[in-house]
């Protein structure tokens, strides 16, 4: 088995397809997450928080671009992936389908969804696919600041006695189950990745997410469930639930409005 070769040419086709699904899901999630963060450049609780949100948006878009470029090794056209896909083809994680309504929701998303993405990055980093290792290290270095910001705001809101705590708890309850499903579905494609040593199994990923999130979730009397049943309608092709990100976000991700004017 030669795992140094880009695109896993020596792995069985189901493993290549499953790894492609994993990378595309992460790329799309990071792209849509970047859009959701960018919405909070204005309207965050402070100028500094808005700048941090904007900076994280840039990080996520940079990560997405790297991951899309990697998919070329799996036979995809990165240009087409970034600019020419129908919203139904997006594999971003379900909790990002709609805009984040308030800062409590932003905080829950930073903690749970962005945290889940980092667990996935770490899983790829320790897996057998070496061409991505250097890029994963860089991404994880940038993600350290996302985690620090998430934890600080989470603790702040969770320890308040007002509306912020109530909103935060509602947001976590809404985003956690779907995040767990997308990170660690345990379906057939995921099982193939684990068997090939390319990505940790579902149980390991859920335990890692729990280790990462539970100290913060405990402020709300919550913890990460270690068993999650996939929703009816689970889309095994995209590795997410039914539905897709809102059209407005996809149009921004593709650059529809202005690309037609300025790109040959």
């Amino acid at each position: 088995m030669n795992v140094l070769d880009p695109g896993l040419p020596h792995h069985p086709e189901p493993a290549r397809q499953a790894f492609r699904r994993l990378l595309l899901g992460m790329a799309d999630t990071k792209r849509i997450l970047g859009i959701r963060y960018s919405d909070w450049l204005l309207g965050a609780p402070s100028i500094e928080a808005g700048i941090a949100a904007s900076s994280m948006a840039q990080d996520e878009w940079g990560h997405a671009r790297l991951l899309y470029a990697t998919l070329k090794d799996f036979g995809a056209d990165p240009e087409a992936l970034e600019h020419d896909r129908h919203e139904n083809a997006y594999a971003s994680w379900d909790p990002l389908d709609e805009p984040l309504p308030d800062w409590a929701w932003v905080t829950a998303t930073m903690m749970v969804v962005d945290g889940g993405l980092s667990v996935a990055l770490e899983g790829i980093l320790e897996g057998a696919y070496e061409p991505l290792q250097g890029r994963m290290q860089k991404m994880l270095g940038e993600e350290e600041f996302h985690e620090a910001l998430a934890e600080a705001w989470f603790t702040r809101l969770a320890s308040s006695q007002g509306e912020g705590r109530v909103h935060l708890k509602s947001a976590v309850e809404a985003v956690l189950p779907a995040t767990l499903s997308c990170l660690a579905p345990g379906d057939e494609a995921h099982a193939v990745l684990a068997e090939e040593g390319l990505f940790p199994g579902a149980e390991a990923l859920r335990s890692r997410l729990a280790a990462r999130l539970d100290p913060s979730l405990s402020h709300l009397g919550m913890s990460v469930p270690l068993e999650v049943a996939l929703d009816e309608g689970w889309d095994s092709t995209r590795g997410r639930g039914p539905g897709h990100p809102g059209l407005e976000a996809v149009e921004r991700a593709r650059g529809d409005r202005n690309r037609a004017l300025f790109v040959e």
Binding site: A49, I51, A52, F145, L149, T155, R156
Partner: protein, 83 residues
């Protein structure tokens, strides 16, 4: 919880002196740490540090941005230096 002011110091290369590059407001030191790194990101800093402004002890001035923590009593050095 009130926001605190933190002053930001950084240097581009090992061996250079830390330079005051700006300030920010934050609820906690941990938030201030992230805000500093994300706000003052125009350089590829070798090192960045933050200091809560109320921990800076002015030596010779009783006015200006750092005067809030001026010592009173025996440790105080009055404005105007040794005279």
């Amino acid at each position: 919880m009130e926001e605190q002011v933190f002053d930001v110091f950084a240097r581009k290369n090992r061996g250079e002196s830390l330079t005051h590059i700006g300030y920010l407001s934050a609820l906690t030191p941990e938030l201030a740490r992230v805000y500093a790194w994300k706000t003052y990101d125009e350089e590829n800093w070798f090192e960045m540090c933050i200091v809560p402004r109320d921990q800076i002890i002015p030596v010779n001035r009783t006015d200006g941005p750092f005067a809030g923590a001026a010592l009173t009593g025996p440790g105080r050095v009055d404005q105007g230096g040794r005279g």
